[in-house]
Amino acid sequence: MNPAMSFLDSIFVNLKLWTLNLIGHFLPGWAVILASIVISGVVILCLGPVIMMYLTLLERKVVGRMQNRYGPNRVGPWGLLQPIADGIKMFTKEDIVPTNADKVIHLLAPIVIVVPALMVFLVVPFGRDMTAADLSIGVLYFIAVSSVTTLPIFMGSWASRNKYSMIGGMRTAAQMISYEVPMTLAVVPVIMMSQSLSTASIVNAQEGLRWFVFTPWGLAGFVIFFICTVAECNRPPFDLPEAESELVAGFHTEYSGMKFALFYMAEYMNAFTLSAIAVTLFLGGWQGPFLPSWVWFFTKTFALIFAMIWFRATFPRFRVDQLMGIAWKLLLPLTLVNMLVAGLWYFIPGITGWVGAAVILAVSFLGLTALNKPVIPEKRVYLLEN
C-alpha cells in the first residue's frame, strides 16, 4: 500500500489521535480518556441523524427515478437541502397527543426507539481501526440491542390507544421475534468460520478478497441475513407494521411532528446499521483493494441500502400469515441446513466441498419452496371467447 493511500486510509484515526495528543498537553490523563470517549460518541451521534437525513433523500431520489420521475429537486442544488427543509417542517409541526393516550409513554416511545438504533453504531467497524468499541461479543451485542427495538414500538402502539396502532404493534412483535431467529442462525456459520464474536476480527478473517459471501454457505447466509434485516427494520416488502394501505401508518398513526420524525429516524438508522452489519459479516467489511478502507465500507453499505430502496420500489407487501410462513417454514430450515453446510465446507476443503455445499443448498432451497405449497404460484388458464 502506498503512503498516500495509507494516509487516506487512516485519516480519521489519525485525526482523533492528533486531537487527543493536543488535549493531553493541557489536561490530565483521565480527561484524555474521557475526551476519547466523547469524540467517538459525538461522531456517532452526529453520524446517525445525518445519515438518516440523507438516506431519506436518497430513497426519494432513487424511488423517483425508478418510477420515471425526478424526486425532490427544488430545495437546494439537486434537492440536497430537502432533508433540512423536512427537518424544519417536522420541528414546526403541531404535536398532537390523542386525548385518551397514555401521555408519558406516548412521549417516551419515540425517544427510546432511537437509543438501540444509535447503540448498534458502537460495534460497527467503519474502517481499519475504526470501531468505536471493539467488544469481544460484538455480534451478540448487535443482536441483543436490535432486539430491544420491539419495546418502544410496543410502547408507541399501546400508548396511542388506537386500534390501527394496536394491530401494528402486534404485527411488529410477531414479525421481529420471528425474523430474529433466522437472522441469528444465519450469523452462526460466520462465527464458526471466523471463530470470534468480535466484529473487528470477523472483518480481519475476510482478509483480501476472501469475503464470506464468495462461499456457498456465505452467499446463502448473506441472502437470508439480508432478507431478515429488511424485515427487522420494517421495510418493504415486510413493512406490515406500518402498512399504509391497511393500517394507515401502523404503530405511529397517532404521532406527528418531531415524535414522528424520531420514529422515522430510528427506521432509517436501523436500515443503515443493519446493512453495515451485513457488510461486516458477509461482504468483508472494510476489506477491499485499491481504495481506502472506509470508502469500501460505505460503498458496500450504500449498495445494500440501495437494494433495500430497490425492493421498496418493486414489491407489493406480504400478508401476515405469509410473512410468518416465510420466516418459519423457509428461512429457518434453510439456516439450519446452512449451518450443516458450513461445517461440511470446513471439513472437506477444496472444490469437492465447494460444489457439495452449493448442491446441498440448492436442493434444499428447491425442496423447501416446493413443499411450501401456498407460496407457489398456480398455473392459470384464461379463455378468450367470442
Binding site: 425508478m66 420515471n68 430497490w310 407460496v375 378468450l384 371467447e385
Partner: protein, 201 residues
C-alpha cells in the same frame, strides 16, 4: 375443438418472478438518466418553468368577448346561459338607461368560478357568440366567496384574445358574424340571432 386461451405458466424456480420485476424497475432507473420522456425516460413536467401543452379545444372557465370596447360587449344579457347553466353559477342583470329602458347589454355579469364545472354548456347555447371557454388555470384565491366570484370587468376580454387562444373557431365565428352583418346591412332590418351555424366549437 380447442378454444383460444392464454395459459399462464408458473415459474420453474421460486423467486424468478421477483427477480424479473426487479429487472424492470432497474431498467426504468437506468432509462431515467439516459432516455427521453417518450422512450421510457422521466415524464414529469417541471411545472412553473415548463408548462403543459394546451390544446386548442381545451376549456376551463367561461369568459365574455367584446369586439370594439369593453362597454359594448357582444353579450345582450338575454339570460339564456343563466337559465341553462347546470350549476346555476351565472348571474346576469340587464343594464337599463336612466329612463328604465333595457339596454341589451349586461349591467351585472357574474360567474362563480367556485361553482362552475367547466362543462361548456353556456358556450353551446349562447346565440350571440359572446361567451366562450377560457384556458387560464392559475386562478387560485384565498377566499372562495370573494376571489372566486368573477365580475363583468374581469370576464370581458377582447376578441383578439379569443382569436389567439382558439384561432380556428374564432375565424369561423368572425366570418359568420361578418356575413350576418353584411346580410343585415343589405336587408336593413333587425338581425335574427344566427342559430346553429357551424359546429359547437
Amino acid at each position: 375443438m380447442t378454444r383460444p386461451q392464454i395459459a399462464k405458466e408458473k415459474n420453474p424456480v421460486f423467486g424468478t418472478g421477483i427477480l424479473q420485476g426487479m429487472w424492470v424497475t432497474m431498467k426504468n432507473f437506468i432509462d431515467s438518466y439516459f432516455k427521453k420522456a417518450d422512450q421510457g425516460g422521466i415524464f414529469t413536467i417541471q411545472y412553473p418553468e415548463e408548462l403543459c401543452r394546451i390544446s386548442e379545444n381545451s376549456r376551463n372557465f367561461p369568459f365574455l368577448v367584446y369586439d370594439a370596447a369593453p362597454d359594448s360587449p357582444r353579450c345582450t344579457a338575454c339570460g339564456i346561459c343563466e337559465r341553462e347553466c347546470p350549476t346555476k353559477c351565472i348571474h346576469v342583470e340587464m343594464a337599463k338607461d336612466t329612463a328604465g329602458k333595457p339596454l341589451r347589454k349586461p349591467a351585472v355579469f357574474e360567474i362563480d368560478y367556485g361553482l362552475c364545472m367547466n362543462c361548456g354548456m353556456c358556450e353551446d347555447v349562447c346565440p350571440f357568440d359572446s361567451i366562450f371557454m377560457d384556458r387560464v388555470y392559475e386562478i387560485a384565491g384565498r377566499d372562495r366567496t370573494k376571489d372566486m366570484l368573477i365580475g363583468k370587468d374581469a370576464l370581458l376580454k377582447p376578441n383578439a384574445y379569443f382569436q389567439k387562444i382558439r384561432p380556428k373557431d374564432a375565424a369561423d365565428i368572425d366570418a359568420r358574424r361578418k356575413a350576418a352583418e353584411a346580410k343585415k346591412a343589405a336587408a336593413a332590418r333587425p338581425a335574427t340571432p344566427p342559430d346553429a351555424g357551424g359546429t359547437a366549437s
